[in-house]
Amino acid sequence: MSWIDLHRASETAAIEAEQNFRTGNARDAELFYAKAAELEEQALGVIDATKLRTRAITAVSAVSLWYKAAVYERAEHLAHSMLGDPAIPQFARMELRNLVQAIWTESSKQAAKVNFIPGQVFVSVNGGDIITGAAPLDLIIEKVQMIQAIFYRTVEFIGDMPLRRRGRPIREIQESCRPWLFQAPPGSYQFAVAIQDTKQLDLFKEDPRPDLVAHQFLEILKATASEDLRQLETLVPKPEYRDAFLKLSRNLAPSGKSFESIELRGARGDASVAFTLEARTQINNTIKSYRPVTTETTETEEEFTGTLRAVDLEKDYLDVVAVGQPLHIVELGDAMDDVIGPMVNKKVKVRFVRGTRDLLRFRDIELEE
């Protein structure tokens, strides 16, 4: 059989696998992926070696198919043998290295004897101070904390729990649905987040699909960055949750020059969202559109940029300082721990209204560079 015959047969099996995967039939999907991989590897064996591009695309495809079939040993073996071939062009080398990294991640998850919810979320931070495979530690820690906060909020939202305004999630969520970080293929600075699935959660009684978390997490983030408010309102009907997701998403988006974008995507490319400065502007517009109109017509909103030095949600105040000038702002209202907490000792832009007797009443706060 020729390359085209074998490749076509592989395509057909891969499409069948994808359709099974979409309908939740993971086991059959893996069997079809394995069949497709076998055929694609045969196609690789018969391709004319002078057809460099076709050969390279076929090699990447065959390794990807073994990976998707969860046959990691064959995927790794083929990837290494192709990487050892000096004729393989640069673009394919990059993709093969990424695949090797993904194969190791999956193998290490298997070896860890910890169960993870199907699918994982890849996070990639690009531009600014980020270089390939390296990034400022504080920036990455901040983003990881924010992603964890959004994951927990997604779990609470799916579990139809009342919005948590203070403190961390209940212990049951923290222990049972615990995000893990895995190294992911380099490109910019990348990592993967997988959720440990240790036991059936009581809060999922009404919806026993914890794998919804990763999917829902990405769908919500996508909707927060969209100009179409209907998407977010359909996905998150409760206004208090909408507000929480919008503010957490805004914390994720870039605000200056330290990085240009943060991209999140599902393991099988099923959904992806990129937060850029433009997305941040869009999120800010949405937050503003949902904000209640000031009741007193004499009140005008003011902005102040400085370092957030103190916040006490119980006593309902925060202090921001810039060039020695302190600002004491009260009535934090719906402010939430996981939104404001990570901003302490960082530069922020705070919006407030000046009430009677110069009382500064809180409206909004966001990270600023």
Partner: protein, 182 residues
């Protein structure tokens, strides 16, 4: 409207050698379901490429209940439908047809080539990057196209690529010129 040329999704497999009939039918069905969420047929779709705009009429059968149920997952339907519309659109504006598909770490890439060419291999083919939005507006579509182009330019491959973003509610398809990794 009647003076405009048509954007034809039906029987894509007859013109795109890389598509099988079941797959092409599934692409077309998903696109009809996505359009029918917002519009009645026929619709006029704006195909934007660089600074040019071409308007085409797309007629489609209103999907029955069974078809709607088969494409009830909005995310999947938007993604699958976007492939159908993108392939019909690049065929319409650039004479390119799907010649093959190859798997990648995160999904699959489609390859397009000028219609009527030899498809014994993928040596001269162009990678097609597709994205779809169900309800996003024009600004959303162009933002996504910029992201796709940046991704292709930065990206995992130095093969030439074309990006296409489909907006079902907006009745728009934004298509980039071929980009290569910088």
């Amino acid at each position: 409207m009647s003076d405009l040329q048509h954007l034809i999704l039906a029987r894509l497999y007859e013109r795109h050698p890389g598509l099988t009939q079941p797959l092409a039918d599934s692409f077309a069905e998903a696109a009809y379901v996505c359009w029918a969420r917002h519009h009645q047929p026929p619709v006029t779709v704006s195909l934007r490429r660089d600074n040019t705009e071409e308007r085409r009429v797309a007629d489609f059968p209103v999907p029955d209940e069974r078809t709607r149920r088969a494409h009830a997952n909005e995310t999947d339907a938007t993604e699958i439908g976007a492939y159908g519309v993108s392939l019909a659109a690049v065929e319409a504006v650039a004479g390119l047809v799907a010649v093959g598909r190859a798997e990648t770490l995160t999904g699959a890439d489609w390859y397009v080539s000028p219609s009527g060419g030899d498809i014994a291999d993928l040596e001269d083919s162009i990678r097609l990057e597709v994205s779809g939005t169900d309800a996003g507006g024009s600004a959303d579509i162009h933002q996504r196209l910029r992201e796709k182009v940046a991704q292709a330019a930065r990206g995992d491959s130095n093969l030439p690529a074309i990006a296409a973003v489909v907006g079902f509610k907006a009745l728009e398809v934004a298509i980039s010129s071929p980009v290569v990794r910088r």
